[in-house]
Subunit: 317 residues, 2 copies
């Protein structure tokens, strides 16, 4: 299997990062992915600082391998979280949303490896200026929050590759070995996979949401809430409510009133499949079962290697 | 270079198809692409039958290599066009829009090779049932007309590959060798490239539109007109007019009134960059110059081969 700047940067076996996801990626999922040779990330976006602290401690107890924490920079407790992350000896932080310039130097001073998630080449260049160690470039097909420009992974990755020499991780629409191989062809050196790990056995997601991911087919998700903060959702009652607000040109306050009722927790953690907010990527359409994280990684790596061998047979060199 | 079912099906050197595009792909572009080892397509969508007949005759005179015609099935003169296409001895037809079941058997009876363009796995299965020879699966990032489900090339191609054994051509967001290699990793056996050939020297597009394609950057296109027939457009005055209609929930008649004024011809053929309709894919962001079709193919093939060699060096087997 390949060794490159991403495996070297994190000290991992496979250049596969498990995306930090609210209500899905606690210490159980992160440690399972890291123990299987990928990079597990605890998703701090749905955690109070003391909950995150507990997850970090349990993760350290559950694995000797490298793991990281994903921190959305737009959350209010960011400063407290980073203090605690440094105190707990976490070595890798992925930041998303917000401005990498504000926090990167502080984190680097504390010897953390810092990766920032972007959805455009322009943002990738800001990351380079901020001094991050690597970039995740995430396409329109990704679940969760997303850029406004709707640039897809196919279009985005070669553009970012051409614009900055930083180590580059591709995200958005990636769940299998074929897609990982495609990401590397596009110029990435690793992949960040969210949806498929959201449906892993070790994910904290409610079993009903995991089953819903398995059943989600092509065309069943849609990028929405573009006026507030774009997010890709499975179509359900909540999605229809959002769409109705959008169609009648509702105000930001009206959207916030609809969203304010812990809809994401209700959907993804408590399993309310109709009134809850169900964030997932287009890759959900090729996820066909709930499996342990180690088996997911094994399947991705096996498919990656066998498709690459096939390509070598069919392409004369 | 690779030989596979797509090169064999069309009798071409490289599995690169130049997409049939209104106002861009007449006999000059199609014959230039075919002469350079790809498959050139005359785009019948903007032609009256007698104009198409002239283009076919000139294309036959300009190349001894295989070429084809792209016929949008929703146009009114389809039956007349197919009669003439058969009479003129064209061997390859790409159909798009509409139902492949209606025309495929007639075309096959006349010994034509038939390829249909789809944006979903469901449509791909309909093509298989209709008896087409191959499929183009086109992702959300493509220019021109497009599916409603917004499935991207990264998500679509492995799904179609898994659903049908038909020879598969990937389209949407593909303009360079890295992207072609990614398409093959995803399971396609060839690529259809539109935007980059729209900006070719031999394209019939107005020079101002070609220059506009070169200048188009990331985030400068948007899929719009979803209520009528989705199309990806460059943002300009016309695009803003469409957006205003959409935001106030305009009727189909209002959209048709706005569109009815030959806006596509004005934009792409006559070079009205503000009041005209400018259809292009997200791949426009990586197109940096107007070049001859043969040089475009040469660059794509060179990059494809060099990136594949790089991957072989970095991935241990």
């Amino acid at each position: 299997m390949l060794k490159n700047r991403i495996t070297a940067l994190f000290g991992i076996e496979y250049p596969i990062v498990q995306g930090g996801m609210i209500w899905c990626s606690g210490w159980k999922l992160a440690s399972a992915v890291s123990n299987a040779g990928g990079l597990g990330l605890i998703g701090a976006g749905s955690m109070h600082p003391e909950v995150l602290e507990m997850h970090i401690r349990k993760c350290k107890a559950a694995t000797d391998k490298p793991f990281g924490v994903n921190v959305p920079l737009l959350f209010p407790d960011v400063s407290l979280m980073f203090e605690m992350i440094v105190r707990e000896g976490v070595k890798i932080v992925f930041t998303s949303g917000g401005n990498p310039a504000k926090w990167t130097s502080l984190l680097k001073q504390n010897n953390l490896t810092v990766v920032h998630v972007v959805a455009s080449t322009r943002s990738a260049l800001k990351c380079e200026a901020a001094g991050v160690d690597a970039i995740v470039a995430e396409g329109f097909e990704a679940g969760g929050h997303n850029g406004k420009e709707e640039t897809t992974t196919m279009a985005l990755i070669p553009a970012v590759r051409g614009a900055t020499p930083l180590p580059l991780i591709a995200a958005g629409g990636i769940a299998c070995g074929r897609q990982m191989l495609a990401a590397l062809a596009l110029g990435a050196e690793g992949v960040q996979i969210g949806s498929r790990f959201a449906a892993a056995q070790e994910s904290s997601a409610h079993p009903a949401f995991k089953q819903k991911i398995v059943e989600t087919g092509e065309g069943d998700t849609m990028l929405t809430l573009k006026k507030i903060m774009s997010v890709r959702l499975i179509r359900n009652v909540f999605f229809d409510q959002v769409r109705q607000l959008e169609e009648r040109g509702a105000t930001t306050e009206e959207f916030q009133a609809l969203l304010g009722k812990a809809r994401a927790k209700a959907g993804m953690f408590e399993g309310d499949l109709e009134e809850g907010e169900l964030e997932i990527g287009q890759a959900a359409s090729i996820i066909d079962a709930v499996k342990p994280a180690a088996r997911i990684i094994g399947e991705i790596v096996d498919e990656f290697e066998s498709v690459f061998r096939e390509m070598n047979r069919s392409i004369g060199r």
